[in-house]
């Protein structure tokens, strides 16, 4: 073979490797769906977010802290905590041992859980595939990843069933990581094909529900640009919080992508009840926009950075959602202090 042919072949290798395509999966496929049976009169969901275990983490302290958050949620839900949703940034510059420690801990609680990835979850000495498989392999994990053409990895839905009927849908959406520029990176967002996937799933559930949308909530990591605009429109940034919470991030307050996403409009038109995210550790504001409740969870633990509330306590803990069969829900943000586990603070909003 002539030298230039060999060179051409070598140069083509990366392109050929890059041309491998993922399997085509129908957007409304049940491959994306996991089921969770509701056993009581309501379903209690704990949102943990931005745990951020890393090389500097004092593992015994943070293990005890997360366990106390879970125990508090268990107590607040009358001993029936049904599901835990972890909304990204569980790590930051860590290794597989640290990742295994965290997921082993969460698995040891014996409560079903889901994970949606944040922008920092790839910053570790693991591949995204390893992380996905690690999360999926947990014995209580409901994490699902379909080999598809939809942007992101953690796009899946959990159908909460009661009496053979889907009572609620819990959506996990991957807000991805970064959007490249020339010299800087912007945060990424939920892309149009992901919104199309969500719509297909919501429509499929509607069809199976006699033509009525199933009540749903969505969890993801990076707030999309549109929810910030909705927050501004709603007066959230001028201290007129509709439901509760505080904003301590500096301007621009919500660190979202500069790209607009169609998610918010789509969610409203598909009768979604609420969407919750993480990402900005110092915010926990929740507000109402066109009959949709949306906002931040509560940073879980002190790793990386966290804010002090106006009342002086650490804004670290968890967010608890109680989903009722009639399609309404309650939410409670509770704050536990690493330095003083007995100190408890919270605010709540009911019948949303």
């Amino acid at each position: 073979m002539k030298a230039h042919n060999v060179l051409t072949l070598l140069l083509l290798c990366p392109v050929l490797l890059a041309c491998q395509s993922n399997a085509s999966v129908a957007l409304d496929s049940t491959a994306y769906v996991k089921t969770l049976a509701e056993t009581g009169s309501s379903l209690h969901v704990l949102q943990l977010t931005d745990i951020h275990w890393n090389y500097t983490t004092d593992l015994p302290t943070q293990t005890a802290y997360l366990t106390s958050v879970k125990n508090e949620a268990l107590a607040l839900s009358g001993g029936q905590l049904d599901f835990i949703m972890i909304t990204g940034d569980s790590f930051l510059d860590a290794n597989k041992e640290i990742a295994n420690d965290l997921y082993d801990l969460i698995d040891s609680w014996g409560i079903p859980y889901g994970v949606t990835f944040g922008n920092h979850d790839r910053q570790g000495d693991w591949s995204p595939e390893w992380m996905s498989q690690r999360v999926a392999s947990g014995k209580n994990s409901l994490y699902t990843e379909v080999d598809d053409n939809v942007t992101g990895r953690s796009n899946y839905v959990i159908n909460v069933t009661k009496g053979g009927k889907v009572a609620w849908q819990i959506y996990a959406l991957d807000s991805n990581s970064y959007d490249p520029g020339v010299l800087t990176y912007d945060y990424d967002y939920i892309h149009d094909d992901q919104v199309a996937w969500y719509e297909a799933q919501a429509e499929a559930a509607k069809t199976n529900n006699g033509g009525t949308y199933v009540p749903s909530v969505a969890f993801y990591h990076i707030p999309v640009k549109d929810v910030f605009a909705a927050g501004e429109e709603n007066g959230v940034l001028s201290d007129r919080y509709e439901l509760g919470g505080e904003i301590h991030e500096k301007a621009p307050y919500f660190y979202s992508s500069s790209h607009a996403s169609t998610l918010l409009d789509s969610a409203i038109s598909h009768d979604m009840k609420g969407m919750f995210w993480g990402h900005d550790h110092s915010n926990d504001v929740v507000y109402d926009y066109k009959n949709m409740i949306m906002g931040y969870g509560v940073k879980s633990g002190t790793e990386l950075y966290y804010a002090k509330a106006n009342a002086g306590y650490d804004m670290t803990g968890g967010a608890l959602y109680t989903l009722y069969d009639n399609g309404s829900f309650d939410l409670e943000h509770f704050f536990l202090q690493t330095s003083d586990p007995s100190a408890f603070h919270s605010w709540e909003a009911k019948n949303l």
């Binding site: 890059a18 500097t56 593992l59 510059d93 000495d125 995204p128 595939e129 990581s177 912007d186």
Partner: protein
Amino acid sequence: MSKKSLLKYEETLLFLFASVAFFYGWYILASDFQDFSHLDKITPSILAFWLPTYVLVVVHLILHPLSFEKLRQTYKINGIALGLIGAGGSLWVAILVLINVYHGLFQGFITPLFPFDILLIYLAVFFLGAYLAHHGYKIKKTPDLIFAKAEPRWAKKIIRSLVRPLYLFLALYNFGAFLAGFGFANYGSPTFGYTIPFYLLMFLEGGLFLLDELVIRSSGYAILKKKTKKIIAWSAFGFISVLVLLSFLFFLIEPDYLIENAIAYYPLDFMGGYNLAPFITVVPPLLASGAYVLSFSARGKRNQ
């Protein structure tokens, strides 16, 4: 095998080890980059991970001394410095274990043997330093010592003394990331193929340093024909240029390929939101190989 050849093999092995350690040193630092509030706890690890780089520099100075007196100074000064760092580091780790900042000598976490392994590094560096310092006082001038030519022009000397260490640090980081990356590369990604030229550039950045250190500075290279040297220089420059062009081309086709496949390699980029990785990976090998080619052109013109 001559003592110098043995040192070169040791330097190569040390380069491989130092590069991976250097990369992980930055990785640990990145985890505290937000506010540097854990430096008391992580500094011993970072220093231990960066110490092989210091030893590598010392080995280079021993391999390429400018004079006997400078060689003796290299042994003495760096030996004492390494000894002090090794002793201080060992003590620091021991104290952190005793006051329970590290939960035991085999706490694990950063590495499976942490902090025992970094204690071993400090102890090894202490003994190495003691040996070098001792050797510095005992060494005698012998005829087999070969000294490198000092750069006579001050401007060039200053530029070299700034550019070379900077290149070394970037090359160590990328080479270490490349080696460590075998454990966490995103092999299953549909865009993995696009990343291959970028990975090769990461490798070649360190590869060029080793080429210069082990081949170009060797006596065997000095006796090569000028034409052969030119072919080596142009081949390196040409190959690197093709890789750079491919990396850029693939970026135009798939702007997300580095985000998809390289986040784990460049934690500081993604902490600060700065897109530095392409520049520190593409520019140094391109400039280094370009300078190599230019050096022949300059010599050619001077000879005319």
